[in-house]
Structures are given as structure tokens and as C-alpha cells.
């Protein structure tokens, strides 16, 4: 019974944290666009939070730069369990055009475990919403 309640509340209110680890800003604009009333993600209970301590889902964009590595791990560890990570855009998936540069470690999965990948350069807002909803469907 309690488990069922926890699962229900988890699915009904995934609060997200927007994390940029060195993106060119295109994916960030699309993430912000996905949060506008036009797409109305609050009907899924998705709310943007300002701190990782309140968040359930990390929506991350951009390749992992060397400088951001420790900070990403710190943010991931601050997020309470159960936590999920969505990599938005080609850079967060693999590093994309920045892959192999001297200051880039690669995609987000080189540093923290990733649950869902949303491809695109940049990913469309509908794709981002779809990614979050599909992640919720897996729970």
C-alpha cells in the first residue's frame, strides 16, 4: 500500500532541475521553451526547481567539461533518492562536436549514470517532454 502511494506520488510530481554542464545554450533554450504554458508540462506535475535538493529528475544539457566534472558529481549526490537523469541533446549523449577536445570528457554518462537520452541538436521541446513522460512511464 505504502509502496503504491510512493510510486504514485513519484509519477505525479517529477520535479526537475535544469543542469548545464557546458552546453552552447541551444538545448537550454529548448528546455526553457518546454516549460512554457504552450507545452504545459505542469499537467504531468513537472515543476522546475532551483536546487538539486528539491529535484527528482536532473535534466542535463551539454558535454561534460573537465572543470564541471566534480561539480556535476556534487549536484548528483545532493539530489535525494530516487533520482533520474535525462541527457538532453547530442552533446549530453556523446559529446557531439566537442568530443575529443582537450577540455571535454565526453557525454554525461562518462560521469554519472543516465536513465534517458533525448537526441537532437538541439532537442525539440516536444522531444524533451516526451523523454520525461517516457521516463515516468517506466516507473
Amino acid at each position: 500500500m505504502l509502496k503504491k502511494l510512493a510510486r504514485w506520488s513519484r509519477i505525479k510530481s517529477p520535479w526537475i532541475l535544469h543542469l548545464n554542464s557546458g552546453a552552447c545554450n541551444a538545448c537550454d533554450i529548448e528546455i526553457v521553451a518546454a516549460l512554457t504554458p504552450r507545452f504545459d508540462v505542469e499537467r504531468f506535475g513537472i515543476l522546475l526547481k532551483a536546487t538539486p535538493r528539491h529535484a527528482d529528475v536532473l535534466v542535463a544539457s551539454g558535454p561534460v567539461t573537465r572543470q564541471m566534472r566534480d561539480r556535476i558529481i556534487r549536484i548528483y549526490e545532493q539530489t535525494p533518492d530516487p533520482k533520474f537523469v535525462i541527457a538532453v541533446g547530442a552533446c549530453a549523449m556523446s559529446g557531439c562536436v566537442y568530443r575529443g577536445a582537450y577540455n571535454i570528457l565526453g557525454g554525461l554518462d562518462q560521469v554519472i549514470p543516465v536513465n534517458m537520452y533525448v537526441p537532437g541538436c538541439p532537442a525539440r521541446p516536444d522531444a524533451i517532454v516526451d523523454g520525461v513522460v517516457k521516463l515516468l512511464g517506466k516507473l
Binding site: 567539461t65 573537465r66 572543470q67 575529443g100 582537450y102 577540455n103 565526453g106 554518462d109 562518462q110 549514470p113
Partner: protein, 157 residues
């Protein structure tokens, strides 16, 4: 002032200090000076030609030497001051005593090329990450990047 007049003035003012003076396009002037004359030439440009703004510094790795190009801009002309440093002893004098905004570009020059800027007011690292190993300069041509081994979660398919 037209370009021809400026070139004549430059030759009169800095005759001995300029090794080479080219004029490849309208309003673009390329000056070449020895590293020791850098401060004197910059000072003259600033005081007599209204050069107060440094757009950027370009570094070129030419093998035996490093070439640095200071791109100064005025509303009328671009003055590009080139100088060459030996690779074995890449030392250059800081021009931030004359143009304070140069310090950022000089810090980046130190990071990326390993050129030592003498008398720089602030020698901290600018663009490279905090855990970057000493003595690695990514924009040098002989620098090889060792990519970290990528782990594919779940293995390759």
C-alpha cells in the same frame, strides 16, 4: 588621415624599431617589431595614434618560433603588431602597464601556448580547468591530446 600618411608617420616615428611594415588591405596595417621594442612601439601607438583598444592577441606556433600578433583597433585603422619569440625561451614583456585590458589575453596566452609574460600583474590561470596538469599547452602544435577512455554504459552493441 589616409593609410599612406599613417605609413609615412609610422616610418618617421618608429623608423628603427619596425622591422617590417605591410599594408595588405585598406585600413589594415601590419607592423613587425623585435620583442624588446614591444613596449616602446605600443607606447608610441597609444600616445600618438590614438590606440587604446586591444581587440585580441593571436598566437601562432611556427615551429622554431612563436609569433604573437597584437590586434589594436582605432575607429579608423587596425594596427596589427607582430613579434616573434624563440621557442626555447618564450618570454615576452607584458603590455598591461600601457593597456590594462591586455591582461586577460596575456593570461590566456600563458595558458594555451606556455609563453611566459614577464611583469604580468595577475598570472593566474584563465581558461584551463583547475585540475589541468602543469606544463601542458593545448594550442602548441607538438602537443598531443590523450583522450580519456570512454566507458559505454551497458557495453558496446
Amino acid at each position: 588621415m589616409t593609410d599612406a600618411e599613417i605609413i609615412d608617420r609610422l616610418k618617421a616615428d618608429l623608423g628603427g624599431k619596425i622591422v617590417e611594415l605591410t599594408h595588405p588591405a585598406p585600413r589594415r596595417l601590419f607592423l613587425k617589431a623585435a620583442p624588446g621594442d614591444l613596449l616602446a612601439v605600443t607606447g608610441t601607438l597609444r600616445d600618438k595614434y590614438g590606440v587604446v583598444f586591444l581587440s585580441t592577441i593571436t598566437g601562432v606556433d611556427k615551429g622554431e618560433t612563436f609569433e604573437i600578433i597584437y590586434h589594436f583597433s582605432t575607429p579608423e585603422q587596425d594596427f596589427n603588431l607582430r613579434t616573434e619569440l624563440p621557442r626555447a625561451r618564450p618570454h615576452v614583456e607584458s603590455i598591461s602597464s600601457l593597456i590594462p585590458g591586455a591582461v586577460l589575453y596575456e593570461r590566456e596566452l600563458q595558458d594555451m601556448f606556455g609563453i611566459v609574460v614577464d611583469h604580468i600583474p595577475d598570472a593566474r590561470r584563465l581558461v584551463l580547468s583547475d585540475d589541468w596538469p602543469e606544463g601542458q599547452y593545448p594550442l602548441r602544435k607538438d602537443w598531443k591530446h590523450e583522450r580519456p577512455v570512454e566507458v559505454i554504459p551497458g557495453g558496446e552493441s
